[in-house]
Symmetry: C2
Subunit: 201 residues, 2 copies
Amino acid sequence: MAATRTNEYGKGREALLAATVQVVAERGLHGLTLRAVAEVAGVNNTLISHHFGTKDALLHEAVAWATARAIRLSDLSAAETIDGSFAGALVELVTSEPHLQIFQYEFVLESRRRPDLRAEAVALYEGYIEGLELALARHGHADTKPLARAVFAALDGLVFQQLTVAEGIVVQPAIERIGTLLEASLAGSTARPLQEIGGAS
Amino acid sequence: MAATRTNEYGKGREALLAATVQVVAERGLHGLTLRAVAEVAGVNNTLISHHFGTKDALLHEAVAWATARAIRLSDLSAAETIDGSFAGALVELVTSEPHLQIFQYEFVLESRRRPDLRAEAVALYEGYIEGLELALARHGHADTKPLARAVFAALDGLVFQQLTVAEGIVVQPAIERIGTLLEASLAGSTARPLQEIGGAS
DNA sequence: GACGCAACTAAGCAATTGCATAGTTGCTAC
DNA sequence: GTAGCAACTATGCAATTGCTTAGTTGCGTC
């Protein structure tokens, strides 16, 4: 349960970044100690000072490393519609790989207190939201800027719920319900475009 | 910035609970130390041991104390519709009193690692969701269980965004957009109930 | 008014923390 | 092969941590 990785020469830095994500996810930011990270990474704790200088710098680097991987993971969001298969894939992702998600919530919360992390947090969220906005616009939705933010918040909030208070079995239908809500909104607005365009108000 | 409260005899316990919420919100769970809490509360740090025994027990009591206040705060959710005034009130709440909200996210994340906090976290979220479900059902929405979970997740996610990466000025329209989405869904389903009931599939 | 007891403080200790210092190991360029 | 240098380890220390022990203070009760 402790020393997991065995490293070849030169792989220490990467191992330390991965270990940082794992330790934060498993023990929280208050469980993030140089010795804990080093033990998980299978190296000496002073190697952290060597590569990163301080603990704060280690976390910053780990955030950059993790967000780069996170945005790639969200190839999910390339999915065009929020349907059952999207919901299943998202629930499955959270079930099988919760560490990266937990780490994200921890660091975004921390970014409120550490200005040096703000940029990464903002970029991560705005990146997600912009991608989603493009997809929504492509489908003909109106008022896509606030809509994208709201829909992303719903997905984000449901992932948060699944990680903490809810089972995948109840989260999945909630994700699908977002899809039907969007469909209904689309059907309503496209079913009566002429009246609305022509109408007063 | 440090020793804030001056207490009369007998008010130490309550002051310590309030200080715990404040310290967690301002410095994170890793900044939660007995001395920090005591200093904010304006008492000696050993008083924590006297009242609560351990630091873990202090956090547990603070969670119970804070969630009791949180559910009352959410008299907001007594609002029947998600409109502009609801959105404004929610944004204003988060702006003016972020401590309690931040504390909630911190402790819910922590509840993943501390089984003794799980019950409080689940009760808090399920309480919100149940209240919301009743309101949605009253308005004639269908499939309210997953819908309530999704809508709450959206509101929760938007509060999280406002606390971390977004300004109230962009969060508020996103909240309102949830309201219009729900209206549209309602209009669509009530506009053609006969066909749907009578139709196959 | 003094007894009893909860609320509270003062002092300190063992363990853990981040990190500095000093050294060793292994790759790579020539 | 050996010089040079990055990657890495071992040791240790000052500061902070949670919490124990031993005491003091103030309030209600009879």
